[in-house]
Amino acid sequence: MTWNSLINILFIALHAMVPITLTAVGEIVGETAGLFNIGLEGILLLGAFAGVLGAGFAGPMVGLLVGMGTGMAVGLIFSVIAAYWKGNQMIIGIGINLFAAGAVAYTMVILGQPGYRLLSFENRLPLIRTPAGGLSPIIFVALVAPFLVYWFLRRTRAGLILKAAGEAPEAADVAGINVNRVRLVATTFGGMLAGLAGAYMSVAWIGSATKELSAGRGFIALAIVVFSGLNPMLALVGGIIYGVFQSLAIWIKNTPGITFLPWQVFDMLPYVVTLLVVAGAIGRVRFPKALGQPYKRE
C-alpha cells in the first residue's frame, strides 16, 4: 500500500461516512422522541433523486434544499401516520421503502433515463481544494452535526422534552407536553437529515442518482443508531468506521493484483460488528421505554 493509496482510502472513507452519519444522527433524534423509522432507506433514495432534479434545474444549493424538503415531507407523512393515526411504525417504514423504490425508478423511466439520472458537472456541489485532493463541504456538516445534536439532546430543555416523549409519554403528557407534536417535529427533522444525506450522495458526491443509490445505507444508519445507543457522537464514530470499511472494499475492487480478496467481507463487516455489539451489550445499551409504541391516552 503506497502513501498515495492510503490518502485515497482516507478521502473515500470521509466521503462515504457522510450519508451514514447524517442519517443516523437524524434517526437518533426521532428515536429519542419514540418513533422508529425503518423507512430511512426510502428517504435516502427519494432525497437523492429529488436532489438531482433540483440541482439540474437550479444549481447544487437548490438541489440540496430540495433533497432536504423531500426528506422532511416523508418524515412528516411517517410521523402523522405513526403518531396521530397510531399506525404500526414497522409497516409504515416498509411501505415508504417500497414506495420510494417504485416511485424513483418509475420517474426515471418517464424522464427518459431508465435506472439513473445524470447531473451535469457544473450543477454539482464544488469540492474544497486541498493539497491532497478535493473534499466536499458537506463532510464538515457531518462532522459538526453530531456534536450539535449531542448538545441539544443532553443540554437543552427542548432536548429533555424530546427524551420525555420517548421515555415516559404519559408523564410528559401530564406535564403539558404535546407528545404527538414533539414526535412529529423530531421525526420530520430526522427525515430532513436523511433527505440531505441522500441529496449529498447524488449532488455532491457521485454526481448522479441511480435507482440503487441508497444500497442499504439507510439500514446501515439504523444499525449504527443501535450500535451507538442513541449517542450522536458514537454514531459519528460508527459512521467513520463504516466509511473506512467501504473504502477498503472499493480499493480492493479497483486495485489490480489484489482483486482476489473477497471485497464482500468488508461490505459485510459493519453489519456483523453491529450485531455483535448489540448482542454483547444489550444489557448496557438502553433505548427509550416507549420506542416504537404509539402514545394513546388511557
Binding site: 422508529f36 425503518i38 401516520i81 393515526w85 397510531k86 399506525g87 404500526n88 414497522m90 409497516i91 409504515i92 416498509i94 411501505g95 415508504i96 421503502n97 417500497l98 414506495f99 420510494a100 423504490a101 417504485g102 416511485a103 425508478a105 418509475y106 420517474t107 423511466v109 418517464i110 431508465p114 442499504g216 439500514f219 446501515i220 439504523l222 444499525a223 443501535v226 473477497p262 464482500q264 467481507v265 461490505d267 459485510m268 453489519y271 456483523v272 453491529t274 450485531l275 448489540v278 448482542a279 444489550i282 444489557g283 409504541q293 404509539p294 394513546k296 391516552r297
Partner: protein
Amino acid sequence: MHDRGLPARGVEGILRRGLFGLSPIAESLVAAVLGLGLGAIIMALSGFNPILAYAALLKGGFASTYALATSAACAAPLLLTGLTFAICARAGMFNIGAEGQVYMGALAAVTLSYFVLPPGLAQIVGILFAMTAGALWSLVPALLRVFRGVNEVISTIMFNWISHFLALYLVARILVDPARSSQTVRVPVGARFPILIRGTDLSYAVFAALAFAVVIYVLLWHTASGYEIRAAGFNPRAAKYGGIKSRRTMVMSFLLGGMSAGLAGGAMSMGTPPSYAVFAGLSQIANLGFNGMAVAMVGRNHPLGMIASALFFGGLAAGAREMQMTAGVPTEMVSVVQGVIVLTLAVPELVHIFRIFRRRWPRLLGGRGEA
C-alpha cells in the same frame, strides 16, 4: 381525542381484527383501491391513459391461461415469503428476514448440481436443502432474541445484508458456473420442478408453495403448538400465565418462517426456466422477501387469505409486462401501487379516519355529518 373505544393496535391489533368479522377484508380492499387509485393519478399525470393501462394489466395478469399461469408462477414464492412474515406476526414478532433466507435457500438448492441423484429423490433433497438453509439462517436471530433480548427487527435487517454480501460472494467465487461467470452452476435437469403448463414459467413449485401454506394453516389453527404460537402473539402475558413457553414458540415460529422462505428460494432455483441458477446480481430472487411482507399484510397474516393476496400481487407483476407493452407504462408502477397499499394498511383505523373526514367535511364527501 378520537382514541376512545377503539380496538388494540400494533401486531396485537392486526391479529384481533384479523380474527373477528369482515372488517379486515374490507380494509385490504380499501387499501388496494387506494393504491390502484393513486397509481391511476400518477399515470394520468405522467401522460398515460390509466384505464388503458389497467385494462392491459388485467389482461396480462388474469385474462388467459398464459396470464394466469404467469401470475401463479410469480405468486408462489411471494406466498412463501409472506408466510415467513405472517407466522412470526402471529407469534407477536416482526420477522423481516425472509429476504436473506430466500438467498440462502436458493443457493442451497443450486448445490444439487454437485450431486447425482435420481429424479424424484433429487427434488426432495433440494427442498430439504433449501428449507434447512432458510431455517438455519433464521435460527441466529431467533436465538439472539431469546437469549440476548436482541430485537428481531434489528437482527433480521443485519442478517438480510450479511446474506446479501455472502450470496454475492458465493455466486461469484464458490458456486460460479465455470462456463458462465455471470451465474451459478445450474440445477441439473433431473432435479428441476417440471413445467406444469407448457410455454409458461409455471412449474410444480406452485404446489409446493400451496402445500406449505395449507400445512401452516393446519399447524397454526388445528394443533396445540399452533395455538400456543397464536396465543403468544395475541396476548403474551396471558399466554405466559397459561403456561405457554414463550421462548419455544418464538424459536419455533422463526424456524417455520425460515423454512418457508428457504423453500421460496429453492423453488426459484429449481422451478424457474430457463436459467435454473442464481444470477450474479441476485436479480431474480432480490426483493421477494420484502414483497412477501405486502402479501402477508393484504392477506391479513392468514394462510388462506394470503393465497388470494399472493395471486393479486403475482397478477400485478405478471400484468405489468403487458401494461408496459400495450400502454407504455413502466413496470415500476406496480411497486408504487404496492408501497401505497402497505402504507394504507399501516393505518390501523382506516375506516375510522374516513368517518372523521366525513364528519368534518360533510359536504365534500357527501356524508350526513352525524356527530
